[in-house]
């Protein structure tokens, strides 16, 4: 598939999934927007012009954010298994958001303090996992290097989750405990218009930060040292990727909790379809991730209706088999 047709296909897929998600499984038909009955019109309006679009937009934005973060991390670490959830970056974001709630930090500029603190937590964990997971310069064994990074991520995730649980236990607040269990499962039921604006801004920031470093990201494919010999300022690039991935992952976590494997699945599929360089991989991952999460979310709230299943369950059901396949090849 040519690069242009790959992106075109993903745009069409994204629109298709979004339209499907708007309509599928609704108690009434969108045709009722023009219904003769004012009550039906009112209900149709609430569902199709407010509730559903908000949720669909949130799913698209969170999916795109997680997937772009994954694409950036995979390129930086030269590891197809790198992903904000698996590396503990999402857990860092969740911890930051929990701290904000537990200490009842004030609302700032109309924004919940949870969002900036989630950014801080996620960026800090990104730098930590980078510092701990990076092996000696002399190590040429790429498979042990990749395994080490993931082990560090797993350990960091466990540690941060334990800290989070400790804060929740000590705070002794039922509300906080409930909020936390929501974060840990991951779901889009709490998305609102304000959150979508925050998500859109952070997606634009993260995407553009990575996109404007496409040249250097591509050079990393030749090897870290080769890239540095080609004039890539590795330290600066590393900071930019970790900041972009941290903000993308943390905004998603603050709105939708811990949703794993989207950042693994979508970039992998785009790469399989031939989009390996950042110019295609980043927009492709954004579109693919958006379509994927939106589709999974629709499945999550309609497959077992009236029970709504957390969307993270579906992404894990799809993502874990791929993870295992990739891990066996490593």
């Amino acid at each position: 598939m040519s690069r242009r047709s790959l992106l075109l296909f993903l745009v069409v897929l994204c629109i298709g999934v979004a339209v499907f998600s708007l309509v599928w499984g609704a108690p009434i038909s969108p045709l009722d927007l023009n219904s003769a009955s004012p009550e039906k019109r009112e209900v149709a309006r609430a569902i199709f012009l407010s509730l559903r679009p908000t949720r669909v937009v949130a799913a698209l934005l969170v999916g795109a954010s997680l997937s772009v973060a994954g694409a950036g991390l995979q390129t930086l670490f030269r590891n197809p298994l790198a992903e904000p959830y698996l590396l503990g970056i999402s857990a860092g974001g969740a911890l930051g958001a929990t701290v904000a709630s537990a200490f009842k930090l004030p609302v700032f500029l109309g924004l919940d303090a949870a969002v900036p603190l989630a950014w801080l937590g996620a960026i800090a964990s990104g730098f930590l996992v980078f510092a701990l997971g990076r092996s000696d310069e002399s190590s040429f064994d790429s498979s042990s290097r990749r395994a080490r990074l993931l082990l560090v991520g797993v350990a960091l995730s466990a540690f941060l989750s334990a800290l989070l649980a400790l804060i929740v236990a000590l705070a002794g607040s039922a509300d906080l405990a409930q909020e936390t269990s929501f974060w840990l499962l991951g779901g889009l039921s709490r998305a609102g218009a304000t959150q979508n604006v925050v998500l859109a801004i952070s997606l634009a920031f993260g995407f553009l930060l990575l996109r404007f470093n496409a040249r250097d990201l591509d050079a990393l494919a030749a090897g870290d040292e080769d890239a540095m010999a080609l004039g890539v300022d590795y330290t600066t690039l590393q900071k930019r990727v970790l900041i972009a991935a941290g903000i993308l992952a943390a905004s998603s976590v603050a709105v939708a909790g811990l949703i794993g494997f989207v950042g693994l699945l979508a970039p992998h599929l785009v790469r399989l379809a031939g989009g390996r360089d950042a110019k295609i991989l980043l927009p492709g991952a954004a579109l693919g991730g958006a379509a994927l999460l939106c589709g999974c979310d629709t499945l999550a709230h309609s497959a077992f209706a009236p029970i709504e299943v957390p969307v993270g369950i579906f992404t894990a059901l799809l993502g874990v088999p791929l993870f295992l396949t990739l891990a066996r090849k490593m």
Partner: protein, 259 residues
């Protein structure tokens, strides 16, 4: 002219290079030789800016090499030892990475970049067009990496042990290509090598480092390929005799193996 004046490098507590001086003129291939750990790679890595020297100067046309990473990369192109990555890339994609120092940050290549890549592949690996690096044999892969360093169109070319894992035929092929491109493009080329005899056949000049990272000998092939120098540096008995065809000095081991 590329000139090193009393270049010293210290990595941690270890002095890796001590007061190394060297000059190489355009169109000349200089072989950098020495035992394992003598600082051959460190010398090349200092030139490309991957290692910061602790003393001395590195001059190109009488002026210090630029500190800016991208400006340095446009001047010095470097093929590190071993294979960094890129198994899934085609020869063309890998060669395009050689244009990295010329591209804008968002990375879209121009016609100039594509022409440089095309010329580099035509010169070094025309038969490998469209192949993925992961599908190639070790020797082919090493040759497939050459277009990348050539596509940069840098006047200084550094190859770090480019033939150490290759069979004897590929060793000649790769170094022959390096020599040819050095002549035709008037490059300053430094190649670190372990094989003394092949180095003698292909190089215009030699730099021999000893295990303390100091210059043991420097100059023409005849100046460096002398038994008393080689015996001292490699700490083993050797003899040097002229090549039967070309008369170029060749070293033979006089090592006594236990019966």
């Amino acid at each position: 002219m590329l000139e090193l004046r009393s270049l010293s490098v210290q990595l941690g507590a270890r002095r890796v290079l001590q007061e190394v001086s060297l000059s190489v003129a355009p169109g000349q291939l200089c072989a950098v030789l020495g035992p394992n750990g003598s600082g051959k790679s460190t010398l090349l890595r200092s030139l490309v800016g991957l290692v910061a020297p602790t003393g001395g100067e590195m001059l190109w046309k009488g002026r210090p090499l630029p500190a800016d990473k991208r400006a340095r990369a446009r001047l010095v192109s470097f093929l590190p030892q071993g294979f960094g990555g890129g198994n899934e890339m085609t020869v063309e994609e890998m060669a395009m990475l050689g244009r990295t120092p010329h591209l804008p940050p968002y990375g879209t290549p121009t016609a100039t970049d594509r022409d440089a890549v095309e010329a580099a592949i035509t010169r070094a690996a025309p038969d490998l067009r469209g192949r993925k690096l992961g599908q190639l044999s070790g020797g082919q892969r090493q040759r497939a990496l050459l277009p990348r360093v050539l596509a940069t169109e840098a006047p200084i070319l550094l190859l770090d042990e480019p033939v150490s894992a290759l069979d004897v035929r590929y060793q000649h092929e790769i170094l022959g290509l390096a020599r040819q491109v050095t002549r035709e493009e008037n490059l300053v080329t430094l190649v670190s090598l372990h094989g003394l005899n092949l180095a003698a056949l292909v190089a215009d000049s030699m730099l021999l480092l000893d295990s303390s990272g100091s210059v043991a000998a420097r100059g023409s092939v005849a100046d460096v390929m002398r038994a008393e120098i080689l015996e001292r540096v490699y700490e083993m008995p050797m003899r040097v005799s002229p090549h039967p065809e070309s008369g170029i000095p060749q070293a033979q081991s006089l090592w006594k193996f236990e019966e």
